[in-house]
């Protein structure tokens, strides 16, 4: 292209152009576009698929600037800061970055700084900073809370935010946004660069990462923030970029990489059948194994750790060829995960069974297939996972979906359509959490004294906090200072105090030290170390970590699968779970609730449409098609805008099965609220069960005569919800996370680390007391917001109720329907865990199916 040859010459200094040439490359258009943005001093968001040279595109402008920079007489601070969501990624990028620096002889110092970096290196980095520092949001928060932060960052020219699409809608993203605002104050000329995978709405990320000033509060209209420049692009800018998009200009230009070829995605229908129910896809394991054998390296993605352990076991049972198949999930010891990753990088593995822990991470060129076991749950996550296969831009990635049951078959088909149309799940704009803000304000006070009003203006240049009101801001500052209690008894114990100069600072050096030990916004469930039991009741080698909840279902003597082997629980001492190997034992497989995704609204919508469109059934396997036809003949197939509700007797009970297709979290919340209502109506509800597609409630009395419009009225989300939520364990869990992040409770204290166990107990006591005496306390507001959005998906229940208003299709049946069969199998599963359930299920399933299909 003539144009790009011209801009090449203008944009790339000879040394860089030569380097590309000697490698036999040409700089890609989006890489040059990023250099152009830098020359114009514009913030930029680059969206490109994996393998598109995205990281180099992010660093290229900094490398050029550093190479052209005249030598300094005095030492300088950091020039470019790179932030990655994973520390492994920061280390890997450091390694990759060294290649061009070395080959071009640039003399640029690039170093990573993570939790694993040694103390002496960290100290040296503070005294003589590298030109490029690669780190994580948590390490950045720590550096920002350091008293030398100003000197370290005042020369900062560029911050590169990698995999920004995974960070921005989270509390870690809130923390990062606040630290970006801080950095911009310290270094007003700082340029922000975001690197993202394909997303549905890039404007959300542009808005999130923009430094534009806050939305005016009633107090008055603040002036334009730093860096919010004019919108017009200079002439000659590449065609693939734009500066605005109809919304007001946020000062962040969008650069699009080449889209790359469409991935090739298939659905595996093992031996032409899809099971009625289940989540493990056990039926297809033999075929999955054969497929792994035929490929170079396969990533087998699952949705939960339990599924990962299960699939790994099943594959090894079939592994007569002793293929190197490994396991990777968040509960394995870090060293073990690193070993798997290293073996993978060396190309030694045939397959890795993994959870979302490998959604992101370092590039493995050798992966030529991604298998998704069980339903994808979201189109965006699927695209990310599929992108892990074949990190070469010119070849399509290849993926196979393996649905575990019939509803999942519909979901897989919907996901394939979505990927083909390149339409992805949408996210809502992010509102920053108060607990994170509290942590940040404390961090600011630890770094240097701050002015209340100036910090307010600065905080509101952070995307998620742009609409923060002065009232809420003051409440957070008061919380940081005195705890924010109506009873003002802690005024003398303030953590931050206002000095005679009008500035706020940390009260004591001890407060500062303790804050720095507790920085971060990742609160994982309390975890316990799994260790091999030694003589004398002591714990030996650590084999991994489990969430506390995992143990709730296990008793000493019980066997379970962990890290790919069968273990017997010996006992628990402190934070250690002691186990002994139990090879060959039939494990009592505990259900593992952790990290389950719910189906996205976007996919659910597609599933509803596909189900109601008989023409779309032709792509489905015969047994699934027959199942849909039987449902049509014996009950109802609802229109896409309708919600099906079936009532029927079964055994000695009466059932109501509802099919909103709105994900397990929303369903569980709705079922809980409906149960309360049915109880008040004297129906005598006995229990309920939910999955991603439907919920079933059973009761003593029939429910076909109920006023359904009344039952599903939106007022359900009022008092009923609040009363239920405040009592629920979910609130206690959310409160604990907020208490930890905000600094009310300390995870680490000088000298001793609190075990998760102790923390669990004391935050519950605090929650109970606070709820009774100050129900509107900042942290309770924060915990309620978290529980509503993250755990029980209240917003989605609200949308569900609004959507189905006047659209409930009631089928009063005299026996269960084909659609209800999977729900009934879930009921069986809930009651009798382990092998007994499978036997029961096998017998019961035949009867159920006979009843539904007769």
């Amino acid at each position: 292209m003539a144009d790009s040859a011209v801009s090449d010459a203008v944009l790339l200094p000879p040394r860089f152009a030569d380097w590309f040439a000697t490698r036999g490359w040409a700089a890609r258009e989006h890489q040059l576009a990023m250099v152009a943005k830098a020359r114009e001093g514009r913030h930029a968001l680059l969206i490109a698929p994996t393998g598109g040279g995205k990281t180099l595109a992010g660093f290229l402008p900094s490398l050029i600037e550093l190479a052209e920079r005249p030598p300094a007489n005095s030492p300088r601070g950091i020039h470019t800061l790179y932030i990655s969501p994973l520390k492994a990624l920061a280390v890997d990028v450091e390694r990759n970055l060294m290649t061009p620096i070395r080959e071009m002889g640039l003399g640029i110092v690039a170093e990573s700084r993570t939790g694993d970096t040694g103390v002496s290196r960290k100290q040296r980095q503070k005294v003589s900073p590298p030109d490029i520092l690669l780190t994580t949001p948590e390490q950045l928060a720590l550096l920002c809370a350091w008293e030398g932060a100003r000197g370290l960052f005042e020369d900062l020219r560029c911050v590169v935010l990698d995999e920004i699409h995974t960070l921005w809608p989270t509390k870690r993203g809130d923390l990062l946004a606040l630290d970006l605002a801080r950095l911009q104050t310290l270094a007003p000329n700082l340029r922000r660069v975001g690197l993202s995978a394909t997303v549905d709405d890039p404007d959300l990320i542009r808005d999130w990462m923009s430094p534009k000033a806050g939305i005016p509060d009633a107090a008055g209209d603040p002036g334009p923030g730093p860096g919010a420049g004019a919108g017009a692009l200079g002439p000659g800018s590449p065609p693939s970029s734009r500066s605005g998009s109809g919304r007001d200009d946020v000062g962040v230009d969008l650069v699009l990489g080449p889209p790359g070829p469409r991935p090739v995605v298939e659905v595996l229908v093992s031996e032409g059948r899809v099971p009625w129910a289940g989540h493990t896809a056990q039926h297809a394991m033999a075929e999955v194994y054969e497929i792994i054998k035929r490929h170079r390296t396969t990533l087998v993605f699952v949705n939960t750790r339990f599924q990962a352990e299960f699939a790994f076991q099943e594959l090894w049972k079939l592994n007569d060829d002793s293929l190197p198949i490994a396991l990777h999930h968040g509960s394995l010891a870090a060293e073990q995960r690193r070993r798997v990753e290293a073996a993978m990088a060396r190309g030694e593995l045939k397959a890795v069974v993994c959870t979302s822990t490998l959604d992101l991470g370092i590039d493995w060129g050798d992966v030529d297939l991604v298998i998704q076991l069980a339903a994808p749950k979201g189109a965006a996550r699927m695209v990310q996972r599929i992108g892990r296969a074949n990190h070469r831009l010119d070849e399509p990635s290849k993926a196979i979906f393996v649905p575990a049951n019939r509803f999942e078959m519909l979901e897989c088909q919907a996901a394939i359509e979505a990927i083909a149309e390149n339409s992805l799940d949408t996210e809502a704009p992010r509102t920053g959490a108060f607990d994170v803000l509290a942590q940040h304000i404390m961090g600011c006070a630890c770094s240097e004294p701050f002015d209340l009003l100036a910090l307010y203006d600065e905080v509101r240049t952070a995307g998620p906090y742009r609409a923060l009101t002065w009232e809420d801001y003051e409440a957070v500052v008061d919380f940081v200072s005195t705890g924010g209690y109506a009873l003002k008894s802690y005024d003398r114990f303030r953590r931050i105090v206002k000095g005679a100069d009008g500035l706020w600072r940390a009260r004591t050096a001890d407060t500062v030290r303790r804050h720095r030990m507790n920085v971060g916004a990742i609160v994982s469930a309390a975890t316990l170390n799994v260790r091999i039991a030694m003589r004398g009741g002591k714990g030996g080698r650590k084999i991994g970590e489990v969430e506390e909840g995992y143990l709730e279902v296990l008793d000493p003597g019980d066997t379970f699968v962990f890290a790919g082997q069968v273990w017997r629980l010996v006992g628990v001492t402190g934070v250690d779970v002691l186990v002994s190997p139990a090879p060959g034992a039939d494990p009592k497989m505990p259900s593992w609730g952790g990290s389950k995704f719910a189906i996205s609204s976007f996919l659910a919508d597609k599933v509803r449409r596909m189900m109601s469109d008989e023409n779309a059934w032709t792509v489905l396997p015969t047994d699934v098609r027959e199942w849909l036809e039987a449902q049509r003949d014996r009950s109802i197939i609802p229109a896409p805008d309708q919600m099906l509700l079936e009532t029927f007797p079964h055994g000695k009970r009466h059932y109501m099965v509802v099919y909103p297709f709105d994900g397990r979290h929303a369903h569980a919340t709705l079922a809980m609220l409906l149960t309360r209502r049915l109880d008040r109506l004297g129906i005598g509800p006995l229990g309920f069960v939910c999955n991603d597609y439907a919920m079933a409630i059973w009761a003593l009395k029939p429910m076909d005569g109920l006023d359904l419009a009344d039952l599903f009225d939106e007022d359900m989300l009022g008092d009923d919800l609040e009363a239920w939520m405040d009592e629920s364990f979910m609130m206690k869990r959310s409160f604990k996370a907020c208490a930890l992040i905000s600094g009310l409770i300390e995870r680490r204290m000088p000298g001793a680390e609190k075990s998760g166990r102790q923390v669990t107990f004391s935050t519950d006591l605090i929650y109970d007391v606070l709820r009774r005496h100050q129900p509107d306390h900042l942290l309770l507001r924060c915990a309620r917001a978290d529980a509503a959005s993250m755990v029980i998906d209240v917003a989605r229940v609200g949308r569900l109720l609004a959507r189905v208003k006047g659209k409930i299709r009631h089928a009063a049946l005299n026996h269960l329907s084909p659609f209800a069969v999977p729900m009934f199998m879930e009921i069986g599963r809930e009651r009798a865990p382990g092998g007994a359930a499978d036997m029961m299920l096998a017998e019961a399933a035949d009867d159920l199916i006979a009843e539904a299909m007769s």
């Binding site: 705890g483 209690y485 953590r495 001890d510 409770i745 006591l765 007391v769 009774r772 005496h773 306390h777």
Partner: protein, 233 residues
């Protein structure tokens, strides 16, 4: 050991021959002496943490007081005995909010308060009414803060904050509890912020000859639970 359910959800039994009632509030009532016993209130634990920079909600004292007033109102005893660690530390009494201190003092009207001292409050209160004592005989019982090892017939103590964890259908629950073998008894902690120590912990082993029984505090009821149903943490 024999138990009978008492009115108001408690459990009636004999400890070393003296009839006592284990109340759902966590208090122990001794009818023969018309005495109510409570252990480990840890008043001002919240402000003790605040002193060190952790600003826990300052409502623990009034929460504990409300519970205590309710327990006292329920049986209007002549004698109210605190079994030690009533205050979280030596300076806690000075940190009491004036209205909380007044409520506490009001409990002394029409009855005698006895402050058995504990390891957290070795000197007892200075300004509040009541007698301060190391240990105290009552009927065939002896009241002290920290249980002594070996056989101690009639000992009523606190200090250990016993809690029971029970595995049942539908999950597990962890509750504060009494622990007794009919010869001695350990009371649950009464304070709002007092944590609990699992009765399966080694600290309880030297105190009982056989397997003791845990009486767990339900919402309005005390549940006697056999050793076999208890699980460790």
């Amino acid at each position: 050991m024999t138990f009978t359910a008492s009115l108001c959800g408690g459990v009636a039994m004999a400890v070393n021959g003296t009839q006592v009632i284990l109340k759902a509030s966590g208090a122990l009532y001794v009818p023969a002496a018309d005495a109510l016993l409570v252990a480990d209130l840890h008043f001002e634990k919240g402000s003790a943490y605040a002193l060190r920079g952790q600003l826990l909600p300052p409502y623990d004292t009034r929460e504990t007081l409300t519970r205590l007033e309710r327990a006292v109102d329920a049986c209007a005893p002549r004698l109210l005995v605190f079994l030690g660690d009533s205050f979280h530390d030596g300076r806690a009494e000075d940190r009491l909010a004036p209205d909380d201190a007044a409520r506490l003092a009001a409990l002394a009207s029409g009855r005698t308060l006895v402050w058995v001292v504990g390891n957290h409050d070795a000197d007892g209160p200075r300004a509040l009414p009541g007698e301060i004592i190391e240990e105290m005989p009552l009927e065939s019982l002896v009241l002290r803060h920290e249980p002594l090892p070996g056989v101690q017939p009639g000992e009523v103590a606190g200090h250990l904050h016993p809690a029971a964890r029970i595995a049942g259908r539908g999950g597990r629950v962890r509750r504060r509890c009494f622990v007794t073998d009919g010869s001695r008894i350990i009371l649950p902690a009464f304070g709002a912020y007092a944590g609990g120590l699992n009765v399966k912990d080694a600290a309880f082993a030297p105190l009982f000859m056989g397997r003791p029984l845990a009486a767990a505090l339900g919402t309005d009821q005390v549940h006697a639970i056999g050793w076999k149903s208890l699980v460790g943490d």
